[in-house]
Symmetry: C2
Amino acid sequence: MNQARCQTQLIALDWGTSSLRAYRLGAAGRVLELRSLPWGVMKLPEVVLPENSGDDGKAGFEFAFEEACGDWIRAAPHAPVIAAGMVGSRQGWREAPYLSLPIAVDRIGSTLSTVHTRNGQIVHIVPGLIENSALPNVMRGEETQVIGALSMLDFGKTPSRAEQQNEQNEILIGLPGSHSKWVQVRIQHREVQSHIEHFHTFMTGEVYAALCEHTILGRGMPTSDVNGDDHAAFDRGVLVPQTPAGRAGVLSTIFSTRTLGLTGELDGAGQREYLSGLLIGHEVAALQDLLAEQRHRPVRVILVGDAALCVRYTRALRAYGLDQIEVAGQATERGLWQLAIAAGLLSCTQP
Amino acid sequence: MNQARCQTQLIALDWGTSSLRAYRLGAAGRVLELRSLPWGVMKLPEVVLPENSGDDGKAGFEFAFEEACGDWIRAAPHAPVIAAGMVGSRQGWREAPYLSLPIAVDRIGSTLSTVHTRNGQIVHIVPGLIENSALPNVMRGEETQVIGALSMLDFGKTPSRAEQQNEQNEILIGLPGSHSKWVQVRIQHREVQSHIEHFHTFMTGEVYAALCEHTILGRGMPTSDVNGDDHAAFDRGVLVPQTPAGRAGVLSTIFSTRTLGLTGELDGAGQREYLSGLLIGHEVAALQDLLAEQRHRPVRVILVGDAALCVRYTRALRAYGLDQIEVAGQATERGLWQLAIAAGLLSCTQP
């Protein structure tokens, strides 16, 4: 019991729309234990409370929280608890208002919201970010992954030639997925200070799923990705947006998924790979336009996310001339650890 | 009985994927009777034939055909029968191979395929069109609507100023819908001859439905269009693609449907209208790019399709500077009539 108490430095929750992941972190943020539960913010268990027990509609959160880490807290009652993701949305446990861009990365950790559980435990909730541009953009959870990815950058190393030329460096962090985020970060080397300046959202993953499952394009396709074996079909799709035919835009080019099947050029599995490449290609091509317009020239691109998806995006980014690409693992738990440090929750521990 | 036989000049079928419409046409193509049946090519009734009756897998077509117009044929056994749409696809009753672009409109009617029913009736099937460009494009059924729309143009009138300047006129025929088609037609006034030169497909309608019904964007939206009352939200969406933010492309801009809800700028019905405008705006903006690249400068735009949808497209086209817009009704039945004339099926009747 005593040993566990010494070991647990932080209980960190990645609480999204569809799932809840709980990390028990030890010294220097090392993952001691991980639990995955199906209780995302939109999929909480129904809890029936006794009458007059003062149900505030949050009983599902309390129950899921207890299941996720109640025993960890009892074993290490002084360990702080931090949570990121949709748990801080309006439909979450406690709204953690969005912070506006541009923002210094350190400020995020100093602006946590808190909720008290029935047992008196404080849970610190990470705010999301909003960019109030012509079309507003929001993220929740990804800011934590960005901070985790940044914490892995080796700022102590000898500066590269590109870095020597600029005292400021621009880094692009890509979080491919259901809703891909591309986050533009500026790092001032003298101050070892990072600012998140802009970000963009592409609904590529969710659109891909909807097209495969709920439109004519999915007819004849296998029901899941075939391990990305058909690189030729994927790459063919990736390149379309940079051809004259690509000017027609994604609402038009996707129809070629079907016509290349009708003309016998692609089989069902090939159509699926082609459509994946086509959508990711449109995303990367549009991203390059946006970066050029904002004169953002990233010296490095860091990808965070599912490994197979990062492989796809790496192929596509290379096809569009972005080749300084790294993939960062464990970004969520590292980000939660960094945020807890910035919030002063781990004052007794070494970062 | 005799009277009906005199009246019926042509039995014309519009036989698509999800429905079958049968027209009994009289002199000059006047619609005497119309039947709508739910038996599209992908939704045929299951017919169980007696053993050894030589089932060729086409019994569903025979059955639906008999239900649609068997009595008309018995009453007017000499009236020819013509059919357009997916009935001529590989999954149809008889494949009518695609004709390649560019093509003189008159040639389509002289290239009909035929199928004989068990009762010995000949059904003439209209071919689809294919454009073997970098991304192949196909249509089936829309070629008939294009011919119908062209037949309504008043070539006998005094030429307009624009027409005087060019002996050739470029006309753009738009068929908005689940898969919108935009067909570029060149008309040589001396020869009163039309050529279909190019066409483009946009899956706007099907993508809109998939996004509303199967992605996060539909959350909080009403389940059907609210009669397009919220013009402000629709128009706001239409204009996005021509702003700097629109450069992000449709995979990105659609996310603003949600964020404008989160920031309280659009309610659920407004989000639905906004998304409709946004997608149609992206379609029209991309179409303009394609026309500019092909140096196609339409003097007239003719829309064929659902009336409410044509109103939406008219608003969007005007916002992008295309304002010589007409809406053509009854294009399908008129097209089938014209094709029957071109095929020589109506040699005894006046066009």
